[in-house]
């Protein structure tokens, strides 16, 4: 335990490299997932289209899918024989971010859908009656429901940073390149380097506490 804490507090470059990489990949994946996730979530939450319920059910199912299944799906696209194999991104940071993007996206959409289904009907009617252009409506909706959007981002970040399947399958746990906290814990445990595994476990635990504090604080503020 002492050695594990020393790795964190004495600034072990490899340990902090893994931590930084994990956080960066997660931020990028969540950030990219918000771009399509918010408008899709708003559209599904508001528009009473014919297939809305079916689409929402699919999104909900995708958000609960095991990470290895998503990893497998993305792998089949970007592996050498896959349709996007020519990109050559398998076992690179881009592959990890892409896989985590697909992990975060359904979660973001489902949280936004839930928030927008409960939004005050007068808000929806007001922007409708004002006859505003779509982009302006979207901007107002984002401002109006920013609490829900932050919750969506926080939940997606929590899911992405703690996953191991996608990072392992698409990143290959390459030292100094695609090794993340979770893949490192799995790898270090197998090879008997418990100190590093424990140190990264502690960091993940602290991140989980931090995410919970942020979520609780936002819920109280509402």
């Amino acid at each position: 335990m002492k050695t594990a804490l020393a790795l964190i507090f004495q600034g072990d470059p490899e340990t902090w490299g893994i931590i930084g990489r994990s956080i960066l990949f997660s931020f990028l994946a969540v950030g990219f997932s918000l771009i399509p996730g918010i408008p899709i979530g708003i559209a599904l939450g508001w528009q009473k289209t014919r297939f809305r319920n079916a689409l929402i059910a699919i999104v909900m199912a995708l958000s609960a899918l095991p990470t290895v299944v998503i990893g497998l799906a993305v792998y089949s696209f970007i592996s050498r024989a896959g349709p996007l194999g020519f990109l050559g991104i398998l076992y690179t940071p881009a592959a990890v971010v892409a896989g985590e993007f697909f992990l975060a996206l359904p979660l973001v959409i489902s949280v936004v859908v839930s928030a927008f289904r409960e939004i005050d009907v007068r808000f929806v009617e007001t922007i409708e009656t004002l006859g505003l252009p779509v982009l302006k409506k979207l901007k107002l909706a984002v401002v109006e429901s920013h609490n829900a959007l932050v919750s969506a981002a926080v939940m997606a970040f929590a899911r992405v940073i703690g996953e191991v399947g996608v990072a392992m399958m698409l990143g290959g746990n390459i030292r100094g390149l695609t090794r993340t906290m979770t893949t490192s814990i799995a790898f270090d445990t197998v090879k008997g380097d418990y100190e590093r595994a424990v140190s990264l476990g502690i960091v993940l635990f602290l991140i989980a506490i931090f995410i919970n504090i942020v979520s609780t604080a936002r819920t109280r503020r509402k």
Binding site: D120, T126, T129, L130, G131, L132, P133, V143, E144
Partner: protein, 234 residues
């Protein structure tokens, strides 16, 4: 421009015939109007008790009551002689809720966000001045009093720039001062707009309207001119 067009064609702005709306599982229609015409530039007050159909009429005219969930709607509405469609409603009309929703952000943001194009010559400050809100411009709209929020929402509705305003009890929830400011503002803008508003205030109806429609159980039971209009015409 639009008034000239209307004058040339002699068509009423809205010609409503056999309009009926029944909410889901309701025993009687919320609205049943055999025939009604509304003239461009008119300021029309809808009066009547709660549940008389005032809001239903205003929302129907703004296409905010879709025919769904087994609600029954039968509508034959003509707008300047042509079938009235949702697209026209969004271009020409705007609706203000009885208990309006103010957007998160400042008073200024609320008003500016309703302006449809940068080329619009609407001056938000001028509108806010008319509604005695110029000193609240930077304040968070949701933290204002009920009457002030009502005025912010009205300012936003006017800033939207549409020629036809449907206002659902614009003075409800406002104290006497706020109500007075709202009536004053509507007096000053009614010369350039067509306003259809519902109200429980006889005073507001008499002072503002050119025409008062009394609704009861979804039907128009009287259609008269207010006293000031009667006097001026005689």
């Amino acid at each position: 421009m639009t008034q000239d067009k209307n004058a040339q064609t002699n068509e009423p702005l809205f010609l409503i015939q056999n309009l009926e709306y029944r909410y889901h599982q309701a025993s009687r229609p919320a609205l049943s109007i055999a025939s009604l015409s509304l003239i461009e530039g008119e300021c029309v007050a809808l009066v009547g008790s709660n549940g008389s159909g005032k809001t239903t009429l205003l929302k129907l005219l703004n296409f905010l009551l879709p025919a769904q969930n087994s609600d029954m709607v039968r509508r034959t509405i003509k707008f300047r002689g042509l079938p009235y469609e949702k697209k026209t409603a969004r271009k020409e009309t705007v609706y203000l809720h009885q208990h309006p929703y103010v957007f998160r952000g400042s008073v200024s943001h609320n008003v500016k966000s309703a302006i449809l194009s940068r080329q619009s010559n609407t001056d938000p400050l001028e509108i806010l001045k008319i509604l005695h809100l110029a000193n609240k411009i930077g304040q968070e709209a949701a933290l204002l009093s009920g009457g002030e929020m009502q005025r912010v929402a009205l300012a936003r509705t006017v800033a939207n720039g549409k020629p036809i305003l449907f206002l659902d009890e614009p003075t409800s929830g406002a104290d006497s001062t706020s109500a007075e400011h709202i009536i004053e503002a509507l007096m000053s803008i009614k010369t350039s707009k067509t306003i259809i508003f519902s109200t429980h205030s006889v005073r507001a109806a008499e002072k503002l309207a050119d025409r008062i429609l009394h609704l009861d159980k979804g039907q128009i039971i009287s259609d008269r001119r207010p006293e000031h209009a009667e006097k001026s015409s005689s």
